[in-house]
């Protein structure tokens, strides 16, 4: 159990994966098309959240190269975090 908790993949597949899925969901509220009803940017990310999480989780769990996982995480995480930050600070 101790070795599991010390493993980087445990943290990447666990809390970091969940946080990343939340960040992407929130970021989508700002870049996803609103649609004719003005609600798609809110509703679609909420509906897709379980799929987002599952996609990220299985990729992180099955990809043997951890660096590649970190790269994809950064690719998804940074733009969405920047968008959310810009919404509040600018």
């Amino acid at each position: 159990m101790t070795s599991t908790l010390l493993s980087a993949r445990f943290w990447i597949c666990g809390p970091v994966c969940f946080l990343l899925a939340v960040i992407v969901m929130l970021g989508m509220a700002l870049w996803f098309p609103v649609g004719a009803a003005d609600i798609n940017n809110i509703v679609i990310p909420l509906v897709l959240f379980p799929a987002l999480w599952a996609g990220i989780f299985f990729f992180a769990y099955l990809e043997p190269r951890l660096m590649r996982v970190c790269f994809v995480y950064a690719l998804l995480g940074f733009p969405n975090t920047a968008l959310i930050a810009a919404r509040f600070w600018f």
């Binding site: 649609g35 609600i39 798609n40 509703v43 679609i44 799929a51 999480w53 769990y61």
Partner: protein, 538 residues
Amino acid sequence: MALDQRKTKALVALHGWSAVFLGLLLYAVVITGAAAVFEEEIRHWSIGTVANQSPFSLPIDKMLRAEAAGVNPEHLEEVTLSTSASGYLGAFFHTHVKAADGQIEEYGERVVLDPATAQVVERRTGTVTELFQQDNPGALAQFIVSIHTELHLPRPWGLMLTGILGLVLLVSAISGFLIHGHLFKEAFTLRRGQNTLVNKRDLHSLAGSWGLPFAFVLAFTGSFFSFAGAFGIPAMAIVAFGGDQEAMIRTLIDQPAVESATPGPAANLDTVIADATRRSGAAPVFASISAWGEQGSRITVFTPASGHRLTGQQFEYSGNTGTFQREKPALGKAPSAGATAVSLMGPLHFGNFAGLLSKLVWGALAFALCYVVITGFNLWLQRRAGEAGWDWLHRSLLGVGYGIPIAMLASSLAYFTAPVLGLQSHVAVPWSFVIVGIAVLAWSFTSPELVRLNQQLFYLCALFCLLSPAARLATGGIGWLGAIQQGNLAVPMLDTSLLMMATFLVFRAARQSRHADRSGGQDGQELVMAAARAGQQR
């Protein structure tokens, strides 16, 4: 789908360990969900005397006008009208206030009216939580739903936990799909005459293969409901609406706030409801009036799914003249992919899109999913039969596996006996669940002999199955003939199901007992008992 050996091994480990850590909680959510599918039937069974006529099909306008004249004018900001199984109309005259935790909550006066006699049945003031959590007649059905959706834990923690369990189910379903490469073949494979482990693996794979699409749908829709309620909607409101949750809700339901404080005429509600009934073909189940008696007032009438429709409809009327404005989409100001996706989530999760038939299918599939969870545990335990340190899991499996159904039955027993004992049903029902659940779990951990415990729990479950309908009848519940005459088929249906279940459990326990005597405990067909024996062997 072909996976390399490393990935297959990793997925098998994930499939097993995710279930070992959270499988019992997942079982709790799924088995309570199997019961929650029949919420309406449980409500009708527990209340007994139900109206076969919707209160919306009777004149209500005059009564509501009289009530509206007497309430605090601030509470006319919004009025919601709902129905009850007893045929009463609940009118909640309310405004919106900020609760201690910063959340916006409805506060006002709730009046329960009997349109048949034009009498006021009940009148209370409070927040929506205070008013609706103390629903004594509906306490049993409400509790079963609450234990499924939030494990009866405070918000948002209960929702967060069930959301995580939904994700665990999603992991199990996807990993199960990937590791069982010959899914179609496994859905039809049951090798009889093989050794018991192979046979049990076949049973697990067979039930799992058939239940896989259903498990995926349940997991996806369930985690959506939990996470959206727990943090999704508030978090989206922060990002997209600067934290104004009310503004986001108004955008989603397309109901801009009515700012006018100019008095205006109030439309005749009977005319509006008759028009909505004609348009949808079914009596409404809910209606909402914003800014009653003011210029710009609106009435929205909600009708249930009927005919070929999977979802209900919403009709909007002028609250001043009663003229029809439009059929509203489920969300937003115009039809959209988002609104369609959200409106499909409910029917897919609750299985209520084709009446009792679809509910029976959903309930059966949920029971099959419980079977997959339990057999998965047994396979895991049997493979580790020689290893030390798994006794706690055997005992937990017995305690939770039997404890939750027994506790649910105990809560129904408490519901019927509470009024006789002078207790409030909404208090007695959850407490009886907790006390009986803990007692069964404690018994599982202290019983010296697991094989005998397994049989005793079977008999206890059967006893509670018999006691529930008996208590219902003994405390003045309606008889079968009277219920059928009223059109309340839930009473004979649930009573019969419980009696059949009790008979099945008694026969099953007796068969186990004969098997154990004959084979010395090595060849039992019962999976839970086999796991228990594996623990005994050490």
